[in-house]
Symmetry: C2
DNA sequence: CCCGGGCATGAGAACCATTCTCACACGTCC
DNA sequence: GGACGTGTGAGAATGGTTCTCATGCCCGGG
């Protein structure tokens, strides 16, 4: 009844490349985007493999996912502790932020309406200083 | 420089049917789902038309959209004032809730990091009392 | 160091929600 | 009532994501 045992992920060139690329970038990127960048730099990796690697990283809690307005998934290397995001809608640059108050608020509101197993999702979008300056 | 004038939406059987169905339901439903229900009850409406009608309603602020985990869009008749949602992840039943504190919090955090044109999105998911009882 | 089982990979097909196309229908205004 | 122009609908097109399956390679055991 403990945590699920690790499914023994194999260490392959492809998975290493995906994680390394995510470590370099500091914003949310789509799988297609990551795949293109890997291809450009010569690290040939199949698109399907990129998706599988990202899925595995998400399952392991090393990466966060976000859905864009148009429904595409965007991925980013994130810290494993609970946090929210402040995302630049122009360049994708992201800052992790914590908000203790909203945690309690969500729990209280849910309880008031009889909801259990509560989860919440909070993201803030804006234009970062750099992007605002150059327009 | 005033608000954009209304594009003069025509009142058709199809649009009326879509809005009427949304008024009956009190949870987020996908376009596919709504299309199937309309078809069942005899109100034949094309799938493309359902999408167009929903898009128009969203533009008019009469309907809210939410992206499911798998990326599908879900729609719900909502009040025009700013609010967040408490959604049952089992049956889709939804309660509109307000959270003034988070509005100020978002603005402050964004300002601290130099972000402008701030928007935020906050949704709470859980299992409603009814669904929790029957399992 | 060598083998073998089995997960990982990759090219392309399959999937599926959503949007587009375009000829035709019908609301709206005169 | 009639013309104009938007709305409709069936099916094709789009595009992100997942699946298929034959082949590749990681890794533990001998």
């Amino acid at each position: 009844m403990s945590a699920a045992e690790v499914p023994a992920r194999r260490q392959t060139r492809q998975r290493t490349a995906v994680l390394a690329l995510l470590d370099e970038l500091d914003g949310f990127r789509t799988a297609q985007d990551l795949h293109a960048q890997l291809r450009e730099r010569g690290d040939g990796v199949g698109l399907a493999t990129v998706y599988r690697a990202l899925q595995a990283l998400v399952d392991d809690g090393l990466v966060d996912v976000l859905r864009s307005e148009v429904g595409e998934a965007a991925y980013r290397r994130c810290s494993p502790v609970h946090h929210h995001h402040l995302v630049c809608r122009s360049c994708g640059r992201t800052v992790e932020v914590a908000d203790p108050p909203v945690e309690r608020w969500a729990a209280r509101v849910a309880a008031e309406h009889g909801f259990a197993d509560v989860q919440h999702q909070l993201e803030v979008f804006g234009t970062c200083a750099a992007c605002a300056a150059q327009r």
